[in-house]
């Protein structure tokens, strides 16, 4: 992808992830005349409606009917079009999981799914509208690429990059009123290639989505405490960047993962699989939503409650640093 060429936004730091998504998709409409945007009565909430305003003839609102929406998307892709589908993550990953799996992934169809209100970012709405399972579900589907962008800028990059990647892509974003992590889009985004946000040698924080902002904040605090903290933005959950994880294991020996998702099955699990398979000893802790239905509240309060905000990360890092990690005899083995 020619970075900086495909899309641009002004005041990107004032826009939510979804607003940037809606804007970027609209800008891509001319480059990709085969895009058909689809939603299920969430044109406004997901911001896919911005595309619809610009290209009404290429916009379909199916009403509140997610299951047929994903089947419809499969049919449009079979007809040679490039459907882009948006609804809330909970409806994509849970209500319509089977259509996404069987109609879209099984046939390896060129459907791009951008789901909003993921994790517990729609905090006040409660568990009917939270989705702390989508990464676990989506990454288990063969052919599916799974991306959780850190902020609006990265969402723009992910959407543009997804258009150039044949096959199904799932991009999940939060409700997103947090400040952006990135100032501009030219930082080398590529699907499947994690970004080292800051280098460090004592411990590595691997985060996705809103977790990246929290990790960066925590790293600043920990830096003042004298710790050298590496922060990795693992925006692509699948295919996961194994090399950068194994390198972090070897070089920092302690890893904390941070995600707005259940600690079962998402980023933390994916990173843990790589660590275990590496055969290297590593102190490891997953932060995210524990095995429970979340309490209701403002997202920032919930992130604090479940200890995956900066405060919680600092606390967990402290605990992990106090733990003895036994060194492997073949520590210097190849990554």
């Amino acid at each position: 992808m020619a970075e900086g060429m495909s899309w641009s936004v002004t005041d990107g730091d004032k826009l939510t992830q979804a607003e940037i998504y809606g804007e970027v998709l609209s800008q891509l409409g001319d480059k990709y005349p085969d895009i058909v945007a689809i939603t299920a009565d969430l044109a406004t909430s997901t911001k896919i409606g911005r595309f619809g305003k610009k290209y009404p003839e290429r916009f379909i609102n199916v009403g509140i009917a997610e299951n047929s929406m994903f089947g419809l998307a499969a049919g449009l892709a079979l007809a040679g079009l490039r459907p882009v589908v948006s609804t809330f993550a909970v409806f994509t990953a849970l209500r319509s999981a089977e259509q996404v799996r069987t109609d879209i992934c099984y046939q390896n169809l060129n459907v791009k799914i951008i789901s909003t209100h993921a994790g517990i970012s729609f905090g006040q709405a409660g568990s009917t509208h939270h989705c702390t399972e989508d990464l676990a579900v989506m990454r288990s589907f063969p052919n599916m690429t799974v991306i959780a962008p850190a902020d609006g800028i990265e969402t723009g990059n992910a959407v543009a990059a997804a258009m150039e990647l044949p096959g199904p892509v799932y991009i999940r974003i939060g409700r997103g009123f947090e400040p952006p992590v990135y100032k501009d889009q030219n930082y080398g985004f590529a699907i499947g290639k994690a970004i080292t946000m800051r280098d460090g040698k004592d411990i590595t924080l691997i985060a996705c989505g809103v977790g990246v902002l929290q990790a960066m904040r925590a790293a600043e605090v920990l830096d003042k405490q004298g710790l050298s903290v590496r922060v990795i933005n693992m925006h692509t959950i699948k295919p996961i960047d194994r090399d950068i994880i194994v390198k972090a294991v070897q070089e920092t020996r302690r890893i904390v993962t941070i995600e707005d998702h259940s600690i079962m099955g998402g980023l933390g699990t994916a990173v843990g699989e790589v660590i275990v398979e590496s055969g290297k000893a590593c102190g490891f802790k997953k932060l995210g939503v524990p095995d429970c239905f979340s309490i209701v509240g403002y997202p920032e309060d919930l992130y604090h409650h479940y200890k995956f905000d900066a405060d919680g990360i600092v606390e967990t890092v402290g605990e992990l640093m106090r733990r003895e990690i036994e060194e492997d005899e073949d520590w210097e083995d190849e990554a």
Partner: protein
């Protein structure tokens, strides 16, 4: 134009072959969805040997008509037709259901030429067909989309979501069929969950509805051609059929939704089919 008597006899002859293939494949593969494959056969034969605008030599031709078998468990019957049409060497069907074979009981669009969509999970096909039909309109392409559903799958809510959508978009390039054999796995549709008045339901969702005998070629052909002429709405052709059609021991028997055949049963079934067609074709 109505089918001529000669055309009808030709289609009947073809259905004879297809029904026998279904029996032979089932004998070889150990088990298949016999009942529904036999009930859908005449509509499939009418479509593939008369009405679909397709070219088996060019299975990916963009402007080909599309056929979605929403009742994907009819895959053995569909595969028999696709093989006979020359989408692949029909000798390969001896591998049906075998480990590593491209042919499982629900056809895979990435492995079976001529299979326009992978189906099998019920209630999915009409939405996919709706997407194809809208896709044709958006791209101003001339192809039509046909979708065959089982009656049992009409209990799925996603069918009715798609029916609303297709009606709303006035998809006159979409023709759907219900293989109304009145049986689900566990028994009669009407005793499990009532579907009637079925035509009224689709009519209320903005569809033209036609109800026919799904084993009568004159009626099948007439309905398909009538659907071509209907503007501003999709057409649902409710085909009254007999599950297990032409094999007396299977007809209207829920237990023959799925089954295997030993050589005695195979011979009995083939004799039944031969006898049926010898009677009507003389």
């Amino acid at each position: 134009m109505p089918l001529s008597q000669e055309e009808i006899r030709g289609l009947e002859r073809k259905a004879w072959d297809i029904r026998k293939s279904i029996i032979e494949i089932t004998f070889t593969c150990g088990g298949s969805h016999l009942g529904g494959s036999l009930s859908q056969t005449d509509v499939l034969v009418a479509l593939y040997y008369k009405y679909l605008n397709i070219d088996p030599a060019k299975p990916d031709w963009e402007d080909r008509d599309r056929f979605i078998l929403s009742k994907g468990h009819g895959g053995v019957g569909w595969a028999a037709v696709l093989g006979d049409k020359g989408y692949f060497d029909k000798a390969l069907l001896k591998n049906f259901n075998k480990t590593g074979s491209p042919f499982g009981m629900h056809l895979d669009s990435l492995k079976v030429k001529g299979c326009d969509a992978s189906t099998g999970s019920l209630g999915h096909g009409l939405a996919i067909a709706t997407g194809l039909a809208i896709g044709a309109k958006l791209q101003k392409k001339p192809f039509r989309t046909y979708c065959m559903m089982g009656d049992g799958e009409l209990c799925e809510g996603s069918v009715w979501e798609a029916a609303i959508l297709a009606g709303h978009h006035k998809l006159d390039n979409l023709t759907a069929f219900v293989d109304r054999n009145r049986l689900m796995i566990d028994g009669p549709t009407e005793s499990i969950t009532t579907l009637e008045p079925l035509a009224d339901k689709f009519k209320a969702f903005g569809w033209e509805t036609l109800t026919i005998d799904g084993h009568e070629y004159a009626a099948i052909g007439g309905a398909i051609e009538q659907a071509w002429s209907i503007k501003g709405k999709p057409t649902m052709i409710i085909c009254n059929t007999v599950k297990g059609k032409c094999v007396e021991l299977m007809e209207n028997q829920p237990s023959w939704h799925y089954g295997g055949l030993n050589s005695d049963l195979r011979d009995q079934a083939l004799a039944c089919i031969d006898s049926h067609y010898k009677t009507i074709l003389g």
